[in-house]
């Protein structure tokens, strides 16, 4: 394997895990805030 294979693998790991963290945090925030808003309107 040449150097660029290792560089690409490292960047894919970093970007994928960071994106997963942000998407999970965003989805959980939207879900929780939507539930709180829905309850407030009742």
């Amino acid at each position: 394997m040449n150097a660029w294979s290792f560089v690409a693998a490292a960047y894919v790991v970093a970007i994928a895990l960071t994106a997963a963290l942000l998407l999970w945090a965003f989805a959980s925030m939207r879900r929780a805030e939507a539930a709180a808003d829905a309850l407030k309107r009742k």
Binding site: F6, V7, A10, Y11, A36
Partner: protein, 237 residues
């Protein structure tokens, strides 16, 4: 800090801050990674693998800074009983664990072409792995305490005790003869050439902003969940 003790006041600041941290973080992280991959020269010894530096160093910094945040939140909870401290500690933990994992994985990938091995039980690598397991323990403990309706005091004590590992990680390359290189970036300067180093501040600030955005989003989720639980209890009473 106590000015933010009121959740309503905290949310007034956190809502716009989340968007700004996300936008600035994405712009800086993408610019830094693109510059690191295309605009800098290869290292004379390591060649192109040196480009892993631009993601490995920010993730190492954030893995350690995350636990520093947990320790500060724990101290704030135990000493000043800050109402948002436990929420803050629980929000930091998944982000810190993620960046500690990124640090370990990118370090392992960098180690294979540089050292000829994916893993070595040396001081720096082992203490960083311990940090990752400490995060998993904190997440499990804090979740269990929250489910039982506790105040999170056991998790806070665990957060403070776990901070002992931070100086061990930092000084591991000085205390032990390790495969990992010694300190090359300090507060006063760096032994890395400026032509290679310059995109690093972009990814450092960029990933730090993304870390901050993830923490704020988790805090907002926890506060909204607490609001729903309190209202359900009132409706049930």
């Amino acid at each position: 800090m106590h000015a933010l003790a009121n959740p309503a006041r905290f949310l007034r600041i956190a809502r716009p801050a989340t968007t700004w941290l996300l936008l600035v973080g994405l712009a800086l992280a993408i610019a830094g990674m693109a510059a690191g991959l295309t605009l800098t020269p290869p290292d004379y010894l390591q060649g192109d693998t040196v480009r892993i530096l631009y993601i490995h160093v920010p993730s190492a910094w954030l893995g350690m800074a995350g636990w520093l945040g947990i320790a500060a939140a724990s101290l704030s909870q135990l000493v000043w009983r800050h109402p948002l401290a436990a929420v803050g500690g629980r929000a930091v933990a998944p982000a810190g664990a993620t960046f500690a994992a990124i640090c370990l994985l990118t370090g392992s990938i960098w180690g294979r072409p540089t050292w000829g091995t994916w893993w070595q039980w040396d001081g720096r690598l082992t203490s960083m792995l311990v940090l990752f397991f400490l995060y998993l323990g904190y997440i499990a403990l804090a979740s269990a305490e929250k489910e039982r309706g506790g105040e999170g005091r056991i998790a806070a004590i665990y957060g403070l005790v776990g901070a002992v590992n931070l100086p061990i990680i930092h000084y591991s390359v000085l205390w032990w003869r390790t495969l990992h290189q010694g300190e090359s970036i300090g507060l006063t300067g760096s032994t890395i050439a400026g032509s290679i180093l310059w995109p690093l501040p972009l990814t450092l600030v960029g990933f730090t902003c993304l870390f901050g955005a993830a923490v704020l989003m988790r805090m907002r989720a926890e506060l909204a969940e607490a609001k729903v639980e309190a209202r359900m209890r009132r409706l049930g009473a």
